[in-house]
């Protein structure tokens, strides 16, 4: 049976929360139009400031620039930043995913080389999983890395790569051996320096007008052998565990949070019964999802496998993020008739989030993949 234990944050976490809130109050100039989506808002100056505070790589060992703090403390920082709509995308993937991957599977040299830069908020990573013919079916990846003396020669194309044009590194899932009967065998993960190794980066605009997507083309790109993350051939195991890190955090239900805030503002202190119910409905989901996310942090803290529970929180959270703008738009009879000055923030925030919303149930594992993970956890497959 799936179990989400009652977990209460300790008082230390609350002291930290106040510090984060004070920091956010002092840095309002970094968030002219707050957006809670973790991909929106790339601000390297802000990321470096977070690094100075010790709020990146929080759970990592101090020898790599980490803070040796708990998953709860990390959650507090994360949720406060997202709720405030702070620009966190520059360091986000490196902090959440690439760093923990290197910490768990990387060689000692790789940890020493890459982790301190991530923790200081100055070194950013992209994820190199998707390819033109590879979406959810990761085992169909065709990019190859062929050993040649002291180097690997990489050929292939990665796509829908967030921020490849401004990040420093990309960790690619590649084939280091030819396909065999075991379709999960023969993969490795390899680090490519996006600034210096010769990968070609071409921008792809998204439907929301954002320009964070890219296509990354590798044509005979040579990288030193020591860029393989951990053991060659271990790529599949690594990439599946990497995906589990990214599924249950607050970013999976808070993406539309600023729409909620502006919706409450527009309803005023004496909402109609319909408006009040809309606010209350969304709040009941927020409090529940947050508690489930904290339960998963508790499991992580105990070193438990959270694969199914994390998928479940993401499934619920992403669906909710998409419902939120739908509920918000109906608290007024006609969005287009709102006062363009007084209610600008509500309208802009709503429209921006609605346009981003198709991505919510795609990134980090589609709804279909997640439901499959949950079904496996239920013993159905």
């Amino acid at each position: 049976m799936l179990q989400f234990d009652r977990v209460t944050l300790d008082s230390g976490s609350e002291v930290l929360r106040q510090r984060v809130r004070d920091f956010i109050a002092d840095n309002q100039h970094h968030m002219p139009q707050p957006n809670s989506d973790f991909v929106t808002g790339h601000d390297s100056e802000f990321s470096a400031k977070l690094g100075e505070q010790g709020w990146i790589g929080m759970t990592w060992p101090s020898e790599f620039g980490g803070g040796e703090q708990s998953n709860f403390e990390r959650l507090v920082v994360t949720e406060e930043l997202l709720a405030a709509g702070a620009p966190v995308s520059a360091h986000w993937i490196a902090d959440r995913q690439s760093g923990p991957l290197l910490l768990r599977f990387g060689t000692p040299e790789q940890r020493e080389r890459y982790l301190p830069g991530i923790a200081s908020g100055q070194s950013y990573f992209s994820i190199g999983m998707s390819e033109p013919d590879t979406g959810s079916d990761l085992a169909s990846v065709r990019t190859t890395a062929v050993a040649e003396g002291d180097a690997y020669r990489i050929n292939g194309t990665k796509i829908w790569t967030t921020d490849a044009h401004r990040n420093h590194y990309i960790i690619c899932l590649v084939r280091t051996e030819a396909p065999s009967e075991n379709r999960h065998a023969g993969f490795s993960q390899i680090i490519v320096d996006l600034k210096n190794d010769g990968a070609k980066v071409r921008p792809i605009s998204n439907m929301a007008g954002g320009e964070d997507f890219n296509e990354v083309v590798f044509e005979d790109v040579l990288v030193p052998k020591d860029r393989i993350v951990g053991e060659p051939g271990n790529g599949w195991q690594q990439v599946t565990s990497e995906l589990a890190y990214e599924r249950s955090g607050p970013e999976r239900f808070l993406s539309a949070f600023r729409v909620f805030v502006e919706m409450v503002r527009i309803c005023g202190d004496k909402p109609s019964p319909h408006q009040a119910a809309a606010i209350g409905r969304l709040a009941s989901h927020f409090t529940t999802l947050r508690r489930m996310s904290i339960s998963v942090a508790g499991m992580l803290e105990q070193g438990k496998d959270v694969g199914v529970e994390a998928a479940l929180v993401k499934e619920l959270g992403n669906n909710f993020e998409k419902v939120l703008p739908e509920v918000a738009r109906l608290v007024v009879p006609d969005l287009s008739q709102l006062d363009p000055v007084k209610h600008k923030l509500f309208r802009d925030t709503f429209e921006e989030t609605l346009l981003l919303s198709p991505s919510f149930t795609l990134r980090g594992g589609t709804r279909e993949i997640l439901r499959g993970v949950i079904a496996r956890g239920l013993g159905l497959r």
Partner: protein
Amino acid sequence: MDTRQLIIDTAEKIFTDHCQKSLLDAAEQGAFPQDLWDKIVENGFHQIGSCGSGTEAADLYAFLKVCGRFSVPLPMAEVLLSNQWLATGVTASKTDFASIGRRNGDSINQVPWGRKATKVLGVVADSNKVLVMDTPSVNDTGSNLAGEAHDTFLLAGTEREIEVEESPFAQMALARTNLMAGGLQAALDLGLQFASERSQFGRSISKFQAVQHSLAVVAAEVAAAQRAADAAVDALGTDRFIDEVSASKARVGEAVGIVAEQVHQVHGAMGFTYEHRLHHFTRRLWAWRDEWGNEFYWQAKLGSRLAAMGADKVWGYIATRG
């Protein structure tokens, strides 16, 4: 093993043996399940959460979850909460128990098994005062859409009033929330079991992706409902109690519609027959989400509170410690 787990394990064992489909069918026809009630009293379940019983309010709600999981056709929420409110120790016995209904004008209605109750209490929204009928005489017998006996009493003018510390209406809502949390778990379990046993097109229907995804959705809703129900129980005695009950009853009520629909779909025509036990759970879920305030009622209550706090305070409210 702690007390709560012991209560849960013992209750599961007793209900597995003594609360079966035939009993639920008979109760729906008006037969009070006296044997089951006797078992409950013999095991002390009639006093969970009462002072002097060595158990606390949270144990009471944990027990109600088990009752929901077995569709126990007895007014356990009403018996246990009236014990607490009357504050005279345990008032229930093999021959006596109190039930609780909604006070509406000059009547108390929707009283579960009121016809068998030796005391009837009347609760009204937004008041801590509870009306007590010490010699109730039933005026009209009826049932809710789940076939649970729900009776009506006319006030005689001889009732007394007591004051309950924590909102009695919210406590009743919390009781329904926990019954629903249990019922939702049962619906999921039935769906999983049926999907693995039923074959179509030459294979188990659990192997079809469409069925797997339906049950994944159900599991997610059930997990959310459990967490939401627990959170409101944890808020007992705090200044967030009514807010947390609001969020909890609303969230769990929302899960009911989704879960009942999906689990019935998985069960096909078989689950639509009276012969199958699924409806004893789904009809109760549908009834309970409307009793003691539906989703709209509690959402609006919570939403009004948040709106009064103001947009810039809502995050502070959501980011609670517990």
